[in-house]
């Protein structure tokens, strides 16, 4: 589904990623973990075309994404829920969702897409005429996920969806992700909430200082001292 091969990325002279490799198979939920500044968001920017890797290859469904502009990557079926949600705050919920179906692959199925999103997040149907910036953080996250779903993606990339949300909300959002995955959408999940991420996913990668520091099944990583050290240091029991 998605192959990232030996990707190297830089901001000016500053190397942010080097030799990063990652694979997602169809139907998988994969977690990407790592401390702040490790390069997780940079990797996502490389995958979504916002940043061109200096070396290496990103392949989606077998096709290299090297020269594909960012907006066209969405058309290929790869949608992202960016960190901090990044809604169009002055627009209504429904306008936000409809913009999610801007790409040709989703345009004709806009009505069905809206129904699907409202079915997943019933609360959004009631607030569909509201201005997005007036919503609570949890509802905003729902709109952000909904907007990405509207593009009818085959791979959904989420950057820190739990950020700033109450634990109960995080739980329900993760429940939704499980459902979305069950409907056939592969998921790449970037999370700081290690425990929750590893519980949801089957496999995970650990990024540290721009390099892949570990990879394995979620269950094994949950017990891995290295993971605990990466996050908690001596805090780890």
């Amino acid at each position: 589904m998605l192959e990232v091969q030996a990707v190297e990325a830089a901001y000016g002279p500053f190397l942010a990623l080097s030799g990063v490799t990652l694979t997602i198979h169809p139907g998988e939920i994969v977690a990407l973990l790592g401390p702040n500044g490790a390069g997780k968001t940079t990797l996502i920017r490389c995958i979504t075309g916002l940043l061109r890797p200096r070396a290496g290859l990103v392949r989606f469904e077998g096709e290299p994404l090297g020269d594909v502009p960012a907006h066209a990557i969405v058309e290929r079926g790869l949608a992202v829920v960016p960190e901090g949600r990044r809604l169009f705050g002055a627009m209504t919920v429904e306008e936000n969702l409809e913009l999610g179906a801007f790409v040709p692959r989703a345009r004709s199925r806009r009505a069905a897409g809206l129904e699907r999103v409202y079915a997943i997040f019933p609360v959004l149907r009631g607030s569909r005429r509201q201005i997005a910036s007036a919503l609570s953080g949890g509802q905003q996250q729902m709109v952000a996920i909904g907007r990405a779903l509207m593009a009818n993606p085959r791979l959904l990339v989420l950057d820190e969806p739990s950020l700033g949300l109450a634990p109960l909300l995080v739980e329900s959002i993760f429940e939704v992700l499980r459902e979305i995955n069950a409907s056939g959408v592969s998921i790449l999940l970037v999370e700081q909430n290690v425990q929750a991420a590893l519980t949801l996913s089957r496999r995970a990668y650990i990024l540290e200082a721009g390099r892949m520091a570990g990879e394995g099944s979620a269950a094994a990583l949950l017990d891995d001292a290295r993971v605990r050290r990466a996050y908690l240091g001596p805090l780890a029991p």
């Binding site: 002279p13 500053f14 634990p167 700081q192 721009g210």
Partner: protein
């Protein structure tokens, strides 16, 4: 919106205190308040009994508080030496110019930038730019130095050398308050940790005690109990 509320703590002279907490817990806001970049709505910030709350950043700097930025902000159009000279010629030291050049060169050497005095920041690597920013902050002759995620984005070897550098600076008698995400480095460097969560101080004490604090573990592992139950 309240980014930081009712946070109180004191730092002793010569101490190195680490500040940790998850994203969005108010660490950078706290630094901005101390450095004068933000004005607190209430409360006091005292340095040696002088209240600095609400003072402009350059006045705070003149009183002896210097900082580095989370994303490095060197003066792009000025050479490394001139970057450090700005700190030396303003700040708390304000020496004569010829003496300042000597001092700036000494600081560049201290942080490991000897031989790079005439390079523009664009020609330095990230770690070197961080070193440069540190030298610029040190040049203001701070009593208290605020380091905002100094080690973010560094590889393990660079992190080690950054830690050595921080120890050297502490050895020079500078008091340090540092926000850091790389917890093990923080645990290694400091004898005392402050943990923020959602803008409030939830722990303050020696690393071992903080590490054992159930509230801290809860905050750091996220919805542990919730997801554990589900699994």
């Amino acid at each position: 919106m309240r980014a930081v509320s009712d946070v109180s703590f004191a730092v002793a002279e010569g101490e190195l205190v680490g500040v940790m907490g998850p994203n969005g817990s108010g660490k950078t806001t706290l630094f901005n308040l101390i450095a004068g970049a933000l004005r607190p709505d209430a409360g006091a910030i005292r340095l040696r009994d002088r209240n600095l709350a609400g003072r402009a950043p350059h006045r705070v700097c003149a009183e002896g508080i210097a900082r580095t930025f989370q994303l490095v902000r060197p003066f792009a159009g000025l050479s490394a030496l001139d970057n450090v000279l700005v700190g030396r010629l303003y700040g708390r030291a304000r020496g004569a110019r010829h003496a300042a050049v000597g001092e700036a060169e000494r600081l560049l050497a201290l942080v490991g930038l000897e031989g790079k005095a005439h390079l523009l920041p664009a020609h330095l690597t990230l770690i070197d730019r961080k070193r440069l920013e540190l030298a610029r902050a040190l040049a203001t002759a701070p009593r208290l130095l605020l380091l905002d995620e100094f080690m973010a984005g560094l590889n393990p070897a660079e992190t080690e050398s950054a830690m050595a550098l921080i120890r050297r600076i502490q050895g020079e008698g500078v008091t340090l308050l540092m926000v850091e995400h790389i917890v093990w480095a923080l645990m290694d460097l400091s004898r005392r940790l402050i943990v923020l969560s959602a803008g409030e101080k939830i722990a303050d004490g020696p690393p071992d005690a903080v590490a054992a604090d159930p509230l801290v573990i809860e905050v750091y592992l996220g919805g542990t109990r919730g997801s554990a139950r589900r699994a």
